[in-house]
């Protein structure tokens, strides 16, 4: 019986991949005031970013209710005894916590192992893909988890923000707090390390910041996979992808859109790059 892989919508997985690998995605609730939307179900990324700039009230995110996890795991129990549930960093969200509560109440049937990706967006997504591929290939529960953890160790994230305001107001600014309060109009580059946002650099123009992003990622060693995600700037994403392709013609590059859950905290103009280092022989 194949292990089934579950994740949440912050993984920003391309729908085709979800379909192909039989991944189950639990939508994150996105709240505009008292209106609750399910990310990817009731609200698309495009719709979200449009609303973000016009909404008088700042949207927030919340972890999926424990009940949703329970329901999901119970439904999958029809097909498998073993589930690996990989989620957004536990230090930025209560999602892993909710998942764990649900798993515990199932008392081993099915067996559910929760994995904290310590990351977000495709940083989480790449771990999920590795796990799902291993599961597809018939790996055991432990092997599936190991596959995810292996990618976790090799993944690097970098995001360029137009402003730190959204991160700050959403309370996820972490160590990037050091970048607040600049007199100059500086574009922050941040990363997620050990599950928390860390500052990387501040650059004076967006153009230079994009150059810097490219350089940082290229400096990560031999790359196995690359993902570029944008919120409201598809042209920038396309341009970055092009430049990566020129340097790394054989590496698969995925270009996609950041989901609302991360859009809430990054704000419009956010652009992210996630790379997975190749395994060392």
């Amino acid at each position: 019986m194949t292990v089934r892989v579950v994740t949440d919508s912050t993984a920003d997985l391309p729908p085709e991949v979800v379909q192909e690998l039989g991944i189950t995605v639990i939508p994150m609730p996105v709240l505009f005031g008292d209106e609750v939307y399910r990310d990817g179900v009731d609200l698309s990324s495009e719709e979200f970013f449009e609303r973000l700039t016009t909404s008088p009230v700042l949207p927030t995110t919340s972890q999926p209710p424990v009940g949703v996890f329970l329901e999901t795991y119970r439904k999958l129990a029809a097909e498998t005894d073993e589930i690996v549930s990989i989620h957004i960093t536990a230090r930025g969200s209560g999602t892993c916590e909710s998942a764990l509560q649900a798993a515990n109440s199932l008392a081993g049937s099915p067996r559910v192992e929760i994995v904290d990706s310590e990351s977000a967006s495709m940083g989480l997504g790449f771990q999920v893909i590795a796990a799902a591929r291993a599961a597809r290939a018939g790996a055991s529960l432990d092997e599936v988890i190991a596959a995810a953890r292996s990618v976790c160790r090799r993944v690097h994230t970098l995001a360029l923000l137009e402003t730190l305001e959204y991160l700050r107001r959403g309370g996820r600014i972490g160590r990037a707090q050091a970048f607040l309060g600049s007199v100059l109009n500086l574009k922050p580059l941040i990363t997620i390390r050990d599950g928390v946002v860390h500052p990387v650099a501040r650059v004076r123009t967006r153009a230079r910041a994009l150059d810097q992003m490219l350089r940082y990622c290229m400096a990560c060693g031999d790359l196995e996979q690359v993902a570029i995600l944008h919120g409201t700037t598809p042209e920038d994403a396309k341009m970055l992808a092009q430049r990566v392709r020129e340097r790394l013609p054989d590496v698969p590059i995925y270009v996609g859109r950041l989901g609302p859950a991360l859009g809430v905290h990054g704000g419009p103009g956010i652009i992210g790059m996630v790379v997975v280092e190749a395994e060392k022989a």
Binding site: R175, A178, F179, V183, R204
Partner: protein, 570 residues
């Protein structure tokens, strides 16, 4: 030999009778000058320098309002004398060494640093001597000249170095030939120095074009002349103060005014007034209506004033109505208490960088810019960007990290910064930024997790990517290359070179940009100074946005003195 008080009060050395004309002993006996003589000679030199400081400032090659060689040399000498007075010694070697120490720490500006090397050379030669002769002094001057040349990485003729060298050479020639009275040695030195100064335009084309002699050389010549006047006994009208230790007593008097238990508010205001028939009582009365902690010292031609007031402007206006006001110092008393180091706002749990940074800045807005980027410590450059070695060193030592990078942000601070780096107990490097925008770029390149070498390299690369223009009004006419500048014209120094002269400040900014903007440029930053209104600056920024639609324009309130605009292009 009596108590130290006796030594201080009696003008004549007790071991020798004064000369018939009342001048200090001028016998031809060898080794007849001691530490006290050395100190008084240099005190006289410093007094003479102070009187002429403005004149020296005004011949700065670039006709910019913060040309301050005279002030820098004077302040360096003031620090020199303070240390020497503290030595309280008759031993020439001890006094010379104390002077060298004081100069080293108090050195301001490149000219100040070279002066400190001159004093160091003198100290080297006189170190073992309790008393010295004319020929000893000639040798000391020679040592001073050698040390001065060594201090400069690329010595240029037609500067203070030439004046020092030729003065020392003349001193040695005199000492060999005609016996070794200090007076005759000094006279030859001064003669040769004067010649050398007048020759400087023929050695340095930029001086000839500007129609001036070299300011540093002039300063040195004036000091030597002051020393000679003392040795000859032409003391002239006393400068400023009645006490024997003019600086020490002024400092003591004003220091006690700052030691009150009540926290003071307002501005600590000091200035010199030169005029005729100055009435110190009247001035005292006037100052007392403006504030407290008043001190007025001097005579009817020169008065030194100190007052704590909320209205420094009125105090200064009163002074300018009476005569010519110089050596103005206005400090916010609250922040003065923090000395020279300003700690930036800590933004909560930011990571503490492995390498600390110290930046020299003039301008409140510019301070805020650097603080907000996370500089560890700021050294205030003051009106003319001339912090002393000591001020920079204090900031370095106060940094939390054992590795520190100094950003001088001005060509004239570079040597003092290097001195500070050399004398620090920490591992320190100087990234030779010559403008504030270079400093910003360097600071943004700081990697909080990398070490000293890596960061110094990254910062050096970053600073070279910025081009800077500093825009101000010419304080006198000049000719540079084919550029003819009239007094009052708006001029721009582009990366330190005077390239632009226009009628208006806007015109100068636009012309500078034409020099600096390249096809790959992406950002223009306009830092407007204390003399520029926000409206004016905004209007200019709007125009620039229209003229350069593909570039970002950033407007920043810099608050810098003298330079109406500092413009950077990256």
């Amino acid at each position: 030999m009596g108590t130290s008080a006796d030594r201080r009060e009696s003008p004549a050395r007790s071991a020798r009778a004064p000369g018939k004309d009342g001048s200090p002993a001028s016998s031809t006996a060898a080794s007849d000058h001691n530490g006290r003589d050395l100190l008084e000679m240099f005190a006289a030199a410093t007094s003479w320098l102070e009187r002429n400081a403005d004149a020296i400032n005004s011949i700065n090659v670039y006709p910019v309002p913060d040309g301050d060689t005279g002030t820098n040399m004077y302040l360096t000498m003031r620090a020199t004398l303070e240390e020497a007075f503290h030595a309280k010694s008759d031993d020439a070697g001890a006094v010379a060494r104390a002077m060298a120490r004081g100069a080293l720490m108090g050195a301001r500006g490149n000219s100040g640093v070279i002066l400190s090397q001159i004093l160091s050379g003198i100290a080297d030669r006189l170190s073992e001597k309790e008393s010295f002769s004319g020929s000893d002094f000639a040798e000391a001057l020679e040592a001073a000249s050698e040390k001065a040349y060594k201090a400069v990485s690329q010595p240029v003729e037609g500067t203070i170095l030439t004046v020092m060298r030729e003065g020392a050479a003349a001193a040695k020639r005199k000492a060999r030939r005609m016996g070794s009275s200090l007076k005759s040695v000094l006279a030859s030195t001064v003669e040769a120095a004067r010649e050398a100064v007048s020759k400087t335009p023929s050695l340095l084309p930029v001086l000839r074009e500007a129609g001036v002699v070299d300011a540093g050389g002039q300063g040195l010549y004036i000091m030597l002349e002051g020393a000679l006047r003392y040795v000859r006994g032409d003391t002239g009208p006393p400068v400023a103060l009645a006490a024997r230790d003019p600086e020490a007593s002024w400092l003591a008097a004003t220091a006690s005014l700052h030691e009150g238990a009540e926290p003071s508010y307002g501005y600590c205001t000091e200035f010199l007034v030169r005029g005729e028939n100055l009435d110190s009582r009247a001035i005292l009365g006037e100052m007392l209506t403006l504030g407290d902690s008043v001190l007025v010292v001097g005579d009817e031609s020169l008065l030194r004033v100190h007052v704590h007031t909320h209205d420094p402007g009125t105090a200064l206006s009163y002074g300018t109505a009476l005569g010519s006001v110089t050596t103005v110092k206005v400090d916010n008393i609250r922040t003065q208490a923090e000395e020279f180091v300003t700690r930036p706002r800590r933004h909560g749990e930011g990571p503490v960088a492995r390498v600390s940074t110290v930046a020299v800045v003039a301008g409140l807005g510019l301070e805020q810019v650097l603080s907000s980027i996370g500089v560890t410590a700021i050294v205030r450059g003051g009106q003319t960007m001339n912090p002393s070695t000591e001020e920079i060193l204090a900031a370095v030592e106060a940094c939390p990290s054992p590795e520190v990078i100094i950003l001088p942000n001005n060509k004239n601070v570079l040597m003092a910064a290097r001195q500070a780096a050399e004398h620090s107990t920490k591992r320190v490097k100087v990234v030779p930024t010559t403008s504030l925008p270079q400093g910003v770029a360097a600071l943004l390149a700081l990697d909080s997790e990398a070490g000293l070498e890596e960061n110094a390299l990254a910062m050096e690369e970053a600073r070279q990517m910025v081009r800077t223009a500093e825009v101000t009004r010419a304080v006198r006419p000049t000719l540079l290359g084919s550029l003819r500048v009239r007094r009052g014209q708006a001029i721009a120094l582009i990366d330190g070179q005077l390239k632009v002269a226009e009628e208006s400040l806007r015109g100068a900014v636009c012309a500078s940009l034409r020099h600096m903007v390249r096809p790959d440029s992406s950002l223009i930053t306009l830092y407007y100074g204390a003399d520029t209104s926000r409206e004016e600056a905004q209007a200019l920024a709007d125009d620039l946005a229209r003229e350069y639609p593909s570039l970002e324009i950033e407007l920043v309130a810099g608050g810098q003195p003298h330079y109406h605009y500092i413009v950077s292009v990256e």
